[in-house]
Amino acid sequence: MSMLTAIIVLGVLALVFGLILGFAAVRFKVESDPIVDQIDAILPQTQCGQCGYPGCRPYAEAIANGDAINKCPPGGEATIKQLAELMGVEPQPLDAAHGTEDVKKVAVIREDECIGCTKCIQACPVDAILGAAKQMHTVIAHECTGCDLCVEPCPVDCIDMVPVPVRPENWQWNLEQIPVTVVESAK
């Protein structure tokens, strides 16, 4: 008898909870998944394609679908750490196959060598190069993401990637790096 009770009670309970869950599943459905946007916000937006995807957004979508988080050299360790936190996985070292973390750089066109072919303009993912056919081109330095996609297409190799100069405003307080002037004794 007690066994029958147990079966009935548990069966009814399960039925009730199943009904509740079935109701909740439809009623409280969450629609879109903003995870891609969150990932995209962490990526450095250099649009360099080193991850193997055409731009940061496609890579963000790939991560959301389970791709590795360590394919972004411009973001480096900091980005991996943030992504790991967001995705709830262990941070991994940067996958060297995609490149290594480097200092921030900016593209500079040696203007007297530029032949005005506009190839770099087409290559720039953020429209940071100004110019027109047969006219000299120049890089808008503060819009340049340092992706170096413009370097390869240039037929005359007149684009250099130079490190972003350190100014007193963005200096990092590394006292060890200060060159100390040696003053000869005045006497």
């Binding site: 399960a14 869950l21 599943a25 991850c51 193997g52 087409q122 297409p153």
Partner: protein, 229 residues
Amino acid sequence: MNAYKELTLQGLWTNNPALVQLLGLCPLLAVTSTVTNALGLGLATLLVLVGSNVTVSLVRDWVPKEIRIPVFVMVIATFVTVMQLLMNAYVYGLYQSLGIFIPLIVTNCAIIGRAEAYASKNPWQKSAFDGLMMGLGFTLVLVLLGAIREIIGNGTLFDGADLLLGAWASELRIELVQFDYPLLLAILPPGAFIVMGFIIAGKNWFDQRQAERAKTPEKQVTRARVTAQ
């Protein structure tokens, strides 16, 4: 066959439920004062894990997404209760020394974790194998922990094995060291935490050393062109 090799590696080492996922720590730490207890709980967990994985895998197509967790819990709870009754009936001594920790297998996150993460997405053969390997991985850590604690804290190995394996097993008992004053801490719960910490540290150290030794595989990645050429 490669998939099975991968499962073995995952369960025993890279994704070991006790060392890496740190699941089921409560029973793990509480019952491992001797190898016998550890082995007992480990085997019980292993059986439940295999059983629940197979069952979950078999029913996965009929279980709607919304109620899969309650169903998994029910499957596991059933297995544990059956296990508990059987142990009570046929290995009474062990049942007494494992006591409360058998019902606690229900809440061992390793089991529902595998059900959710693996068995609910894979065919039953693979799920069974995954359960076996995860269970083995768990058991091995339990036994290792139990052995260390038993040796340090009691100077013996397989003390009380007869409770688990029958009278013949009392032969298994090994008196390794005769301590005048054994380090009691080792068989008390804090000792479990400390020894467990060292085991995990050891594993991480080993992995790190392996990783350092391993050459980074040369891999060619084609860079995507973001823009038209």
